[in-house]
């Protein structure tokens, strides 16, 4: 469960990126966040990732109250989230397998568990046969699937994707989106920020519109506008 209660966010330079957001997302929901450039979508994601803290208001994610959480808890909180970026952020010198394994290594997962789990996740994103390829040897869509696999590595409850299809061609985008839907069906909460009207309209999921730091519309089966 995610709860934004009258959340405001001002950056140090004085820009108010969020001006009082109220948003409730239940476990297992699929939500598109849409809005024009500068509306505050990425800021919303950064607050969820606890990369930024709200200036005021209340933000609760599951058992964590992000407005009061102390710094040392942040890593443990982040293990409940899986994040995917527009630019993939894969390591060029690591294979597909190693890129996914990395996420587990750095949180102290035993080797045995890693060896068992990575192939299973790669299977989920339909990349089992590419596990020994390097990122530059696979397509953009495939790279994003690797990033998605990495986001799933630590079995998070929530998947956050900020413009996951921004850097890949439309056909591949559809594939990524299908995967996100599939992951959602597996029980994970999925939040997707996107600009792609076609995709949003096609999937008929809950759509939250942000405009100038405020939510202007929030409708299941909504359209991009």
């Amino acid at each position: 469960m995610i709860d934004f209660v009258n959340v405001k966010k001002a950056y140090p330079n004085g820009t108010f990126a969020l001006k009082g957001v109220n948003l409730h997302i239940d476990d297992g929901e699929f939500v598109f966040i849409v809005g024009h450039s500068g509306a505050g979508k990425t800021t919303l994601m950064k607050l969820l990732l606890r990369e930024e803290r709200p200036t005021s208001g209340k933000l609760i994610v599951g058992d964590y109250n992000l407005t009061e959480m102390s710094n040392f808890k942040v890593p443990y909180y982040r293990r409940e989230l899986g994040v995917v970026f527009q630019d993939f952020r894969l390591f060029p010198k690591k294979t597909v397998y190693e890129n996914v394994a990395f996420a587990m290594e750095v949180v102290g997962t035993p080797k045995k568990m890693i060896r068992r789990r990575v192939p299973a996740i790669l299977n989920t994103v339909n990349l089992a046969e590419k596990q020994d390829s390097f990122p530059q040897e696979i397509s953009g869509g495939e790279q994003q699937r690797v990033a998605l696999a990495r986001a799933l590595a630590n079995n998070p409850k929530i998947i956050i994707a900020d413009e996951p299809t921004g850097n890949i061609d439309p056909k591949m985008s559809l594939e990524i989106m299908n995967l996100l839907i599939k992951i959602n069906k597996l029980g994970k909460t999925v939040i997707v920020v996107t600009h792609e009207k076609n995709l949003v309209d096609y999937y008929k999921q809950r759509v939250v519109h942000l405009k100038d730091g405020l939510i202007t519309e929030d409708k299941v089966g909504g359209m991009f506008q």
Binding site: V74, R79, L81, F102, A103, V106, P110
Partner: protein
């Protein structure tokens, strides 16, 4: 260190050092030079102390008594000296002990018998503070049976103030050199962090803890400190031995503490200071990651 071998962190640390080799080398060279200079100063001060002791100049007054005193009177004087303020210890040298010493040092005394002994009993006083010497001397001169005293307080205080001067320069040097060393290590580690910023950002997103992210860099700092201090040790050893040989062969006046008698302190001191500098330097550059 849950399930994680230290080797991982050490491996990462060496990768980092290797990646910005030039900076790593520069930090090691600078930290090493600083340690050699600091060590040089410390050893200089230490040797001044050794020489002060050797010359018998340090905090010592010798009180010579009249020739014809009874044993009881001598003992009484000893007690009186002992009871004076700022006196740390009083040691008696009987006239026959004094004669034995003279016989050892000068040939002309070889034939002198106990009956002919021209010397008197004396007391050697060790006092606590140089500033109290005039007062102490005055009080000694009031004691009956006192004949003369010899103190080298003036010379001692000259050497003492020379030593203090060196200490003062040394402390400034130490401060500056430590700051310089910390500064260069901070920048080396910063470069290393910069080279891995991509990896670090992913680590943070997937929930790696602050210490997991920072430990390789702290170890990097420690390695810089260790390598610098061990190299500095050998350099210091080389120079010191050179001076030691020169001093013992050409300037018999001066006593130089042998390196064998101090090597352990030098080594431990260097490693301690080097590693500490490394840890401080890396911690400064990692502050924001430790806080998450």
């Amino acid at each position: 260190m849950k399930r994680y071998s230290l080797f991982y962190f050490i491996g990462q640390a060496f990768r980092g050092l290797w990646r910005n080799g030039v900076m790593s080398f520069a930090s090691i060279a600078i930290l090493m030079s600083c340690l050699v200079v600091i060590g040089g100063f410390t050893l200089l001060v230490y040797n001044i102390d050794v020489n002060l002791e050797d010359f018998g100049l340090q905090n010592e007054i010798i009180v010579y008594l009249n020739f014809d005193l009874e044993e009881e009177a001598i003992v009484a004087i000893g007690d009186k000296l002992d009871s004076l303020d700022h006196v740390e210890s009083v040691t008696r040298t009987t006239k026959s002990q004094a004669l034995q010493q003279m016989k050892q040092e000068y040939e002309v005394y070889a034939d002198v018998t106990e009956e002919e002994n021209p010397l008197s009993d004396s007391f050697t006083i060790i006092y606590q503070e140089n500033e109290k010497v005039p007062e102490l001397k005055y009080q000694i001169q009031q004691i009956e049976g006192y004949r003369k005293l010899s103190d080298k307080a003036d010379l001692a205080s000259t050497l003492e103030s020379f030593k203090n001067g060196i200490m003062l320069i040394f402390i400034w040097f130490l401060a500056i050199l430590v700051v310089v060393s910390v500064f260069i290590i901070v920048n080396t580690i910063k470069l290393s962090v910069f080279a891995r910023r991509h990896e670090i950002s992913v680590m943070r997103y997937v929930g790696a803890t602050g210490w997991f992210i920072t430990l390789p860099f702290v170890i990097e700092g420690i390695i810089i400190g260790l390598v610098s201090s061990i190299t500095a040790y050998f350099v210091e050893w080389y120079f010191y031995s050179y001076i030691e040989t020169m001093a013992t062969e050409d300037m018999k006046m001066i006593t130089i503490a042998s390196f064998d008698s101090i090597y352990l302190y030098v080594l431990i001191g260097f490693i301690g200071l080097g590693v500490l500098t490394g840890i401080i330097g890396s911690s400064i550059s990692l502050g924001k990651y430790l806080k998450q």
